[in-house]
């Protein structure tokens, strides 16, 4: 009730255009008709809801966050809030969403390309730090699946912003051949329950205890099964043999990936005292193969490297291309890979981006 009165008074502080509808219309259907959804229903963005959402951030509603590709629509904090309402976010998710949006707008993230590509990719959001627990994110059972509001709606809100503010729609600027369910949303928190594990945020240069988002261009997940290997070295070779199959076994261009390492696989590494750096380095090296094993044209298969690279040792990934993230439920000897976008001529051209979440 108080909100409704506040909305009546402060409705004047919202500047976004009003879209009117009659008493006989269902606002949920109006959202569909106006093309604001991702195919699933959205929450109608009434003044009350938008004002409530704006309470989740100290930033002013009229602050410009950036211009959203592909059509470079101007996105204010108010527009972020409206799309956050559509997605079903709670106000306390706003700092995460704002940080994710700013990360996605960094030039090296190449958001326009990610949207427009024929590949499967979309912005994947990985959250680190105290805010993940504070807002109730999931880093455990079914972490890459459905069921958690924060995971589901933060990722969704970012994609809705690209669609609604940027104008990026499938069949128009979005030329993805197949797309992926991850294009609805893929956002999760890293499992930081083990204090000995270096979180992704720290690996990427932020102090422990600072909350961050890492934006990664990718899709997924794809399963990596190993229910037999008991040693760190063996598990490395095993996971590597799956990783090299990413996209195509002979493809060495899609050179970034996130490995989601589940607890039971991590336990094998931990038992041997392997830390993040050692795991990532070992996996990187285990995915280097002689050029002659992956030559183009062999057996009539076109993919592969040219004959000129036959004597080279060819890596699957950029040397900074593999990011390990711990997540998942306590049982299950399966990890997963989130393959990166098939793009970028060199490792500097296209990169994940990490930003601090400021509340």
């Amino acid at each position: 009730m108080a909100e409704r009165l506040e909305a009546k008074h402060k409705g004047g502080t919202l500047v976004s255009r009003k879209i009117e509808y009659s008493d006989t219309s269902d606002p949920m259907e109006v959202c569909y008709q106006r093309g604001w959804t991702d195919g699933l229903p959205v929450t109608p963005p009434t003044d009350e809801r938008v004002l409530e959402m704006l309470k989740g951030t100290r930033r002013r509603a009229d602050e410009v966050v950036g211009k959203i590709p592909p059509y470079l629509g101007t996105c204010t904090v108010e527009k972020v809030a409206i799309n956050a309402v559509l997605a079903g976010c709670k106000p306390e998710y706003m700092p995460v969403l704002l940080a994710a949006l700013e990360a996605a707008l960094e030039p090296v993230f190449t958001l326009h390309g990610v949207l427009a590509t024929t590949y499967f990719s979309s912005p994947i959001i990985i959250v680190n730090g105290p805010i993940a627990r504070a807002i109730g994110m999931n880093s455990g059972l079914n972490v890459l699946g459905q069921g958690n509001r924060a995971n589901a709606t933060i990722g969704r809100a970012l994609n809705l912003i690209v669609q609604n503010v940027g104008g990026g729609r499938p069949g128009e600027a979005d030329r993805s051949t197949l797309g992926a369910p991850s294009k609805y949303t893929l956002c999760f928190a890293e499992d930081e329950s083990d204090p000995e594990w270096e979180p992704l945020s720290v690996a990427r240069g932020f102090p422990r205890g600072v909350s961050t988002v890492t934006l990664f261009q990718g899709h997924g997940p794809e399963a990596i099964v190993d229910q037999k290997t008991r040693t760190a070295e063996g598990l490395t070779r095993s996971i590597a043999s799956s990783l090299v199959k990413m996209g195509h076994p002979k493809l060495v261009q899609s050179a970034r990936a996130v490995l989601v390492l589940t607890p039971e696989h991590y336990a094998i590494y931990k038992e041997s005292g392997w830390d993040r750096k050692k795991i990532e380095r070992a996996l990187y090296e285990a995915t280097i193969r002689p050029g002659r094993e992956i030559l183009a044209g062999a057996d009539g298969v076109g993919e592969g490297v040219p004959a000129s690279r036959a004597e080279e040792m060819v890596p699957k990934f950029h040397d900074d291309g593999l990011m390990v993230v711990r997540a998942g439920g306590p049982a299950g000897l399966f990890s997963a890979v989130l393959p990166g976008w098939l793009a970028g001529r060199n490792k500097l051209e296209l990169q994940p981006v990490t930003k601090e979440i400021k509340t």
């Binding site: 919202l14 976004s16 255009r17 009003k18 879209i19 009117e20 509808y21 009659s22 008493d23 219309s25 606002p27 109006v30 959202c31 008709q33 106006r34 093309g35 604001w36 109608p44 963005p45 009434t46 003044d47 938008v50 959203i68 059509y71 629509g73 101007t74 996105c75 108010e78 527009k79 409206i82 799309n83 559509l86 809705l160 609604n164 503010v165 940027g166 104008g167």
Partner: protein, 92 residues
């Protein structure tokens, strides 16, 4: 009581959505003639259809059986699969 929602877009398009972009030419297309059930509509559409046919257009007659009831989804789906554009009449 006016109801409204706040626009989540960059507001570069009109508040009113433009109608679906029509084809550049009707050549080879099927024009639907939808009878919404008002009195005299069948004769009216007969004449319009005759004129369309004289111009070499393909036509498809359809409609709902009575003005009082809403068109069924099944009916609308069937019609949508048979026509490329549609003329709906008469509202009296």
């Amino acid at each position: 009581m006016t109801n409204w929602m706040r626009d989540p877009t960059a507001e570069t398009s009109a508040v009113k959505r433009a109608r679906r972009v029509p084809p550049k030419s009707l050549e080879g297309l099927t024009v639907g003639l939808f009878d919404i059930g008002k009195t005299r509509t069948p004769e009216f559409l007969d004449r319009v259809e005759q004129r369309f046919k004289e111009r070499g257009l393909k036509t498809y007659r359809c409609g709902k059986p009575t003005n009082a009831k809403v068109a069924t989804t099944e009916n609308l789906q069937k019609i949508s699969s048979e026509v490329d554009v549609i003329l709906i009449g008469l509202s009296d």
